[in-house]
Every structure is written in structure tokens, then in C-alpha cells.
Homo-oligomer: 286 residues x 2
């Protein structure tokens, strides 16, 4: 798979089989048709039409919405539709930075096709003019993409945390990076995609960070999510990206973006602009 | 104008009034209808249809295409359609990195709506954790956007030069940067846009570079294209971008991209992801 194909791998354009669902005028997510039809069982919470689903308007504030949708989510878990309960909740927002409309169990986020937010941090070391990238390997017991290669630090932004506070927390848990160092991470952009994942429509926005680490830094995983770390030459990173699917599906574009921003690719290489711009083209409207 | 509007300012989506033109199967550019109709006068060179224009297929190699189109361009200059002869030529390619199909006088590039390639370099200085950006002001006699603010170094890629060789040349001419320093510039991405400019369809791909300069570096313009330079705090750069149209139309997105990549904007600022992704969304397919 070429670098460009690797990017387009994260994109879905045909939404046949999914129905949008809204809270008031704000479109919040996408429901697979069979899930939408299951929601007909909860008419006091959802008004289910053949083309669209709307949250009942009497659920007019955060607490009522959270309670009512929460009951439906627990019922969907008993039906086996919501799987892998995380006991962790995400904020559902019309747009990032807007007040949350409700709080949703993380395991239900893909089922409701709700946009989730994450932080991904490239940890790197300079060696003269050269750069090396810290790459983690996900633990074999991870629910999503076990054993795949990952950024040094990454995680979903849970309810109530801003991206930098979440990054500081994940830096400590995933790589043993102390707060003072974590706060030196530089926000370098964002990435947004919409894709099919395990049969549901997954919509994510990732906030991207770079952190330059001292040459003698050694990451230590605390939370058991990463099995091992390795400091890789960019040539090795690029070879793995182009020859295998070893990187987690959404980490591949984050790392390609890192390679582009740090000059690993050169403009006179065929396809350079397509790749640098492809990073964009693969992104979906939010 | 918001940062996001500044980006979309560089985009055209409605191509009514323009006709595509091709060489063989490769679509090369867009001709305004009146220009296309004028080309009916040169039936040995162009086959002009109501919806599309094709270069006559007997013009089967680089030399013949360059000579025949060159004659038409000179005739269009006499008609006043091609203005501001530059005596500098650009390569016309189906795709960057492909062998050139012909060589075209630079002044004719917008008239034929042909994709042009440029290099833009952000020259910056670190002051502890802070970054300052060198900004040039274009000379008052420039044909395009006189007096506007510009990158430290920028220029079109002329026929026969690769982007880095052209950057080294422009670094010397526009800012007095010596070759050894210029070659330390890091390619950080590309930008592509299609817009109306002076009545024609302008399609550009810019190769973007960052160069970190020593604190005591002072740029010196040699070629008269830049009237003055100033080292600006990023806060001042951002204020100018959001409050005025002082930056050249295509430099504004290059500088916004610089601000995003270097962490000037923070993910918890409202609209962060829209801006970082908007940089992409404003880009057009090549």
C-alpha cells in the first residue's frame, strides 16, 4: 500500500446504510440502519424516522439527556449491540469547544457514530540533523488493534478534560513522562476522519502534538496499554508504513504527517505534493 | 476576516465560464471562454470545442508543442490578452515530476490556467521557547500584489530547476542567504489552490519550507523584489492576518500553516480543528 493509499484507507464517503441523528438542529452522529430501528423501542428518547433520527425535544438539558440516553445505552449493552463497556465517558458536543450536550459511555460512541476527540503525540529525539521517532507497540490484550504500532502517547479525550490536561495525564500513564516535560509538547495540527470500524461509523478528530525528548530519555509504560517502545530511524518508520499494516490504522496518517512536517520527504520526489495534500484530502468535513 | 475565511479566500469551486484544455489525455489547464474562442483563430494548434479544448495531436513532442504554443502566446500578447511579458518560462507538466510537455512563457501561465509551482520559505528565529518570523514587504513596483507582506523567500519554480535548487537561488537573490545556510531549509509540506486572479484561473502548488536562522542574521534583498524586512512576534503576525489583508493572498495560508505547525494556536481554542483542517479543506484536488 502506498503512503497515499494508507491515508485514504481512513476514509468513507458512501454513507448508505446509515442515518444521521440530531439533537435539535445539531447533527450529532450516524446510526447504522439496524441500530436506528432498534431505537424505535425507546420512543420517549428517540424519534426514529426512515431517513433520520432525532432526540426527543423534551430532553432539553444535559442531565436529562445524559440520563435518558444512558438508559438506552445500558439496554443496548444487554442486547449485545454496545460491547466492551469502558466505564469511561466522553462529552457529546455539536462542535469542539461548545458546551457538552450529554455525557456518553465510551463503548457507545461508535454505535451512535458520535465524533470523538483524541490526542496523539509524536515523541522524537534529535541526533545532529537527524531525527528518530519513539514508537510503541500496543499490548496484546488491547480491545482495539492489539499488537499494532502506536505513537509514544495517545488517548481519547474523556469528559471534562481539555486536550493538554489529557495529554499530560496520558504522558504519565503511557510513557512515564513527567508533567514539566509533557507541557513542552507543541500542538502541531489536527486530523479528522470518518471511517467504517468494526461495522460502525467512527468519526474522530485527533489533536496532534510533537515533543522533542532528550537523547537519554527512556519511556516507561505504567498503564499496561503499551507492551514495548523502540526509538526508530525515520527510514525504518517509512519502510514499515509502506510495506506493512503494522501501524494502527489512525496512527499511520499521524506518522506520515510527522514525516512530511520534518522534511523526511523531498518536494522533487514524485507524488510529494499529492502526499502532503493527500493528508488533507483524506480528512472529512467536521 | 477570520483565519478560516482567509483560507477559503483562495478557493474557487464554480468553474462556469471556463473550459478545460488537454494535451492527449492529460488535462493541463482551464481557459476562460473568451480566450478559448480566440484560440479558434489557431486551428493548427488548438481544436476548440464548446466544452473543451485539445492541443492538436500532430504536435507530438516537446519542441513542436513549445514552438507552436509559443507562436500563439506571442499573438495573444499582441492582442493584449497575455500581459506583462516576463521572459521567463515555466514547465507545463501533467503532474509534478513527470517529463515536461512544453515550455511556456510565465506571463501566459494564468491565461492558459496551467498549474504553476512555487517555493515559499518561512524564515524564523528562536528566542528561548518563543519564535519570531521574518516578514518581507513586497516592493511597490511588483506586478502582483505590490506592497503586500510576504514570506522571507518565495518564488515560482522556473523551467529546468528543481524546488531546492530554486530555493537556494531565491534565498540568495531575495534575502542574501548563502547557499550553505539555504540548504538547511526543511521541506514541511505543500499547498495547492485554484482561484480567480485578475480574471484568470490560477492554479498553484507551493512547496513549503522552514528555515531556522541565527538571531544575528539580517536579510538583504538583492533583486529589488522586497522593499524591507521585519522580524515579527507571532502575536503581531496573527493580529495582522486577522485584522487586515496586508499579507499577499497566497502567503496568508502559508503563514497560518506555520502558526499551526509551531503551536501558536492551541487545541482548546474554539475552531482549532476547523482551522488546522481548514488548511486542508481549502486545498483543491490537483
Amino acid at each position: 500500500m502506498s503512503f497515499l493509499e494508507r491515508l485514504h484507507h481512513c476514509t468513507i464517503s458512501d454513507l448508505t446504510g446509515f442515518r444521521p441523528w440530531s439533537i435539535g438542529k445539531a447533527q450529532i452522529g450516524w446510526l447504522r440502519d439496524d441500530v436506528a430501528d432498534t431505537l424505535r423501542r425507546y420512543p420517549s428518547v428517540f424519534a426514529v424516522g426512515d431517513d433520520a433520527v432525532v432526540l426527543q425535544s423534551h430532553l432539553a438539558d444535559f442531565d436529562h439527556r445524559t440520563a435518558a440516553v444512558g438508559e438506552v445505552v445500558r439496554a443496548l449493552a444487554e442486547l449485545g449491540i454496545v460491547q466492551g463497556w469502558r466505564n469511561e465517558s466522553f462529552a457529546v458536543v455539536a462542535d469542539y469547544g461548545q458546551p457538552p450536550l450529554l455525557r456518553l459511555e465510551r463503548a457507545a460512541v461508535p454505535v451512535f457514530g458520535v465524533r470523538a476527540y483524541g490526542v496523539h503525540m509524536n515523541g522524537y529525539v534529535r541526533d545532529g540533523e537527524r531525527i528518530k521517532l519513539w514508537v510503541g507497540q500496543r499490548a496484546p490484550d488491547r480491545q482495539i488493534e492489539p499488537g499494532k504500532l502506536d505513537n509514544l502517547v495517545a488517548g481519547g479525550v474523556p469528559f471534562g478534560l481539555d486536550p493538554m490536561t489529557n495529554l499530560v495525564k496520558e504522558c504519565a500513564e503511557e510513557a512515564g513522562i513527567e508533567e514539566a516535560m509533557a507541557r513542552r509538547a507543541i500542538p502541531v495540527g489536527a486530523m479528522s476522519y470518518r471511517m467504517l470500524h468494526q461495522g460502525f461509523l467512527r468519526q474522530d478528530t485527533l489533536f496532534l502534538y510533537d515533543l522533542e525528548l532528550p537523547a537519554d530519555f527512556l519511556p516507561t509504560n505504567i498503564d499496561g496499554e503499551i507492551a514495548s517502545f523502540r526509538l526508530m530511524e525515520l527510514e525504518e518508520v517509512a519502510a514499515i508504513l509502506s510495506d506493512s499494516e503494522a501501524f494502527k490504522f489512525n496512527v499511520a496518517p499521524v506518522v506520515i504527517d510527522f514525516l512530511v512536517r520534518h522534511g523526511y520527504f523531498k518536494p522533487d520526489q514524485p507524488g510529494y505534493a499529492d502526499l502532503a495534500i493527500g493528508l488533507s484530502a483524506f480528512q472529512t468535513p467536521r
